[in-house]
């Protein structure tokens, strides 16, 4: 229980750091969102009153002391007020995020589950067959795949399967022209079709991590005495592999989940941009293109929050799986 409380405390500190970064970074830079917005108007004359009005609209006021701004900012966050997305005026940031988040969660979630299952299985098998030809060929191959930048993998898939073979749609989250969003079969089918290539991109990019982690820890557990004992008892290969070796080798995979999650989220951002997929990454891209700082910050905040929550959940799972952590923590 004490262990759990410590972890909760840690994640609260991390969350506070993310929020504070978000507050401080733009304020360290010269200029403010109102000036950026006016710069986007390109040469149109703005009067003093108009500038003040725009400042008020965006909630920036150079006359208010910094600590007051910080408190207002925190208060705004608590009420879900993240300002206005200047690039999509007058939509609020929170509305843009609400529309985008489910797409990204779906994409990242599907990719993570598939690559974890497939990668761990491959790692398990090649560790078992260590020294065979595919153990010498498969890891370098996956290393190369993981070195390919996500967005470039996405571009290649679009080129081959989208443009060349025309098997899958390559643009957007669903067929905007022919189906209506909602719980109907056509929409769901369309969403799945549109998600196939982005998910494949993410799975290919993140597979190597799981394969190599699993292979390396599995090799270590395979030399343990209890595996030799199991073999001596004449247990079936399958049982030794799954119930004895893999079961004990899987823990580091769970812990590397947090690092891998960060990578997949980063990859998802870039993948979404290539596929014009309507998730957070695409919103972030549009915000960057449009100098929309409020939206850039909002995107970062929501990504940080999601990553922190997912990390915390993976730690909970780890605590459930590994009794040593529980005992030492309590």
């Amino acid at each position: 229980m004490r262990h759990l409380l410590r972890r909760v405390g840690f994640y609260l500190v991390a969350l506070w750091a993310a929020i504070t970064f978000n507050f401080i970074i733009p304020r360290l830079m010269p200029g403010d969102p109102a000036e950026a917005y006016i710069a986007r108007l390109q040469g149109q004359r703005v009067t003093r009153q108009e500038l003040d009005a725009i400042r008020k609209l965006f909630g920036v006021n150079p006359n208010v002391p910094l600590w007051q701004q910080y408190l207002d900012y925190l208060n705004g966050l608590l009420h879900g007020n993240l300002g206005i997305a200047t690039s999509q005026f007058p939509t609020t940031v929170i509305d843009v995020l609400k529309q985008s988040l489910p797409w990204t969660i779906g994409l990242v979630g599907a990719a993570l589950i598939i690559s974890f299952l497939v990668g761990t299985l491959i790692g398990m098998v090649i560790a078992w067959k260590r020294g065979s030809w595919y153990d010498t060929l498969v890891p370098p191959f996956f290393t190369f795949l993981s070195a390919v930048p996500y967005f470039w993998m996405a571009l290649a898939l679009v080129y081959v399967f989208g443009v060349g073979l025309n098997w899958f749609p390559t643009n957007g989250g669903y067929d905007v022209f022919n189906v209506n969003p909602g719980w109907n079969g056509d929409f769901i089918l369309s969403v799945v079709q549109h998600a196939i290539l982005p998910v494949i991109t993410l799975v290919i990019g993140s597979l190597a991590g799981w394969v190599l982690t699993m292979r390396n820890t599995m090799i270590t557990t395979l030399s343990e005495d209890y595996v030799v004992m199991a073999e001596a008892k004449g247990l079936s290969t399958r049982r030794i592999m799954m119930n004895y070796a893999a079961r004990n080798a899987i823990l580091p995979s769970i812990t590397s989940f947090s690092i891998s999650l960060g990578l997949v989220v980063s990859g998802a951002l870039l993948t979404e941009i290539v596929f014009n997929y309507p998730g957070i990454g695409y919103a972030l891209y549009q915000a960057v293109q449009g100098d929309d700082y409020a939206l850039v910050e909002g995107c970062f905040l929501v990504i940080a929050l999601a990553v922190l929550i997912a990390n915390f959940l993976s730690e909970l799972v780890y605590t459930l799986l590994d009794p040593r952590v529980r005992r030492e923590g309590s």
Binding site: A14, F151, G209, V228, C299, A304
Partner: protein, 339 residues
């Protein structure tokens, strides 16, 4: 992009020394003895040479339009030309300079920060160590690329365009140091309990010397591995930032080539030569660096080497060694348990 497996087990520096000293070989011998390191160093050296020798390799200015429009590869332009009619091969060759230089600068700075944070947070128990550890862990869980994008977009909007490379290098430095710092911290936690540190302390060496002259040299392999890992991350992130249009869009670099390929819709019209060479170069360079890391890892952790028979039995004495037993993966938990 840091898919190094260096974190799986703490590297025991003495085993690395043993493997080199035992066979009595020099650095070149070491490279040949481990094929992964050999291949990796070869690939990286190739790109470095290409970047240095860029003016000798191509007659074209990378930014000059030499033909009308985007032509497919031909003997005159072996990688074809860009949408503006620039020679793609020159762009790749000169672009290697930008990517390598930014990534190298960022990785070097980041490694210094990693050493500073990792070693001091590991060496000092109590409030200082805990605080530094907290900072490391907070940076570790914050998503790196989104933070990089936020910083780069805000910074590049305000910086003069000709200083964009420095801004990107600084941003990458700032967002990439935490992972290596944690790895080094864990190793320092174990090293500071060894006799040689206690002996040095007893002879009255000051703390700075203890940390950087006694402990640091014993972590050299690990520092090298985290440097290479950070380099891989920096290359990928640098190309990604430029792909997003956050770099200097008028200068030839790998990310820029991909940015323009995407913006000109090169894919839709089937102009594959606009994005294939740059992407393959990034992939090849990162794979080369990753191989170096795997090689270092294998030297330090002999159980991972492929040439051994499938199941290596460790001698009982070796196994009961408490340090071996605690060489669990570098998790949040194992670090907590150390304390």
């Amino acid at each position: 992009m840091q898919t190094t497996n260096v974190t799986e087990e703490q590297i025991d520096p003495s085993s690395l020394l043993k493997s080199t000293k035992g066979s009595g070989r020099n650095i070149i011998g070491l490279l040949i003895s481990n094929p992964k390191i050999g291949v990796g160093v070869g690939i990286v050296a190739f790109f470095v040479l290409v970047a240095i020798a860029a003016p000798l390799l191509t007659p074209y200015n990378p930014n000059a339009s030499v033909v009308q429009g985007s032509l497919p590869p031909s003997p005159a332009h072996i990688f074809g030309t860009t949408g503006l009619g620039q020679d793609m091969f020159s762009q790749i060759v000169y672009g290697a300079r930008v990517t390598l230089l930014i990534a190298f600068t960022a990785a070097t700075g980041s490694t210094l920060l990693q050493v500073l944070f990792g070693l001091t947070s590991g060496y000092f128990a109590g409030v200082l160590g805990d605080t530094l550890n907290l900072i490391i862990n907070v940076f570790l869980v914050l998503p790196g690329l989104p933070l990089t994008i936020v910083l780069a977009s805000l910074a590049s909007a305000n910086a003069a365009t000709n200083r964009n490379e420095i801004v990107i290098a600084l941003v990458l430095l700032f967002t990439s140091w935490s992972y290596g710092a944690r790895v080094l911290r864990a190793q320092t936690l174990s090293l500071k309990e060894r006799e040689f540190v206690a002996a040095a302390r007893a002879t009255g060496e000051n703390t700075v010397r203890l940390i950087f002259a006694e402990i640091l040299p014993n972590e050299a392999a690990l520092v090298a591995a985290t440097f290479v890992g950070t380099f891989v991350y920096a290359v990928g992130a640098e190309v990604a930032l430029e792909f997003l249009g956050l770099g200097n869009t008028s200068q030839a670099s790998w990310g820029e080539i991909l940015y323009w390929a995407q913006n000109n819709g090169a894919l839709i019209v089937g102009k594959w030569w606009q994005f294939v060479p740059a992407g393959l170069c990034v992939a090849l360079l990162c794979a080369g660096l990753t191989f170096i890391n795997f090689g270092i890892d294998e030297l330090a952790n002999p159980r991972l080497r492929a040439e051994h028979p499938p199941r290596v039995r460790t001698s009982p004495g070796q196994k009961k060694n408490p340090e071996e037993a605690s060489s669990a993966p570098l998790t949040e938990e194992s670090i907590v348990n150390h304390e």
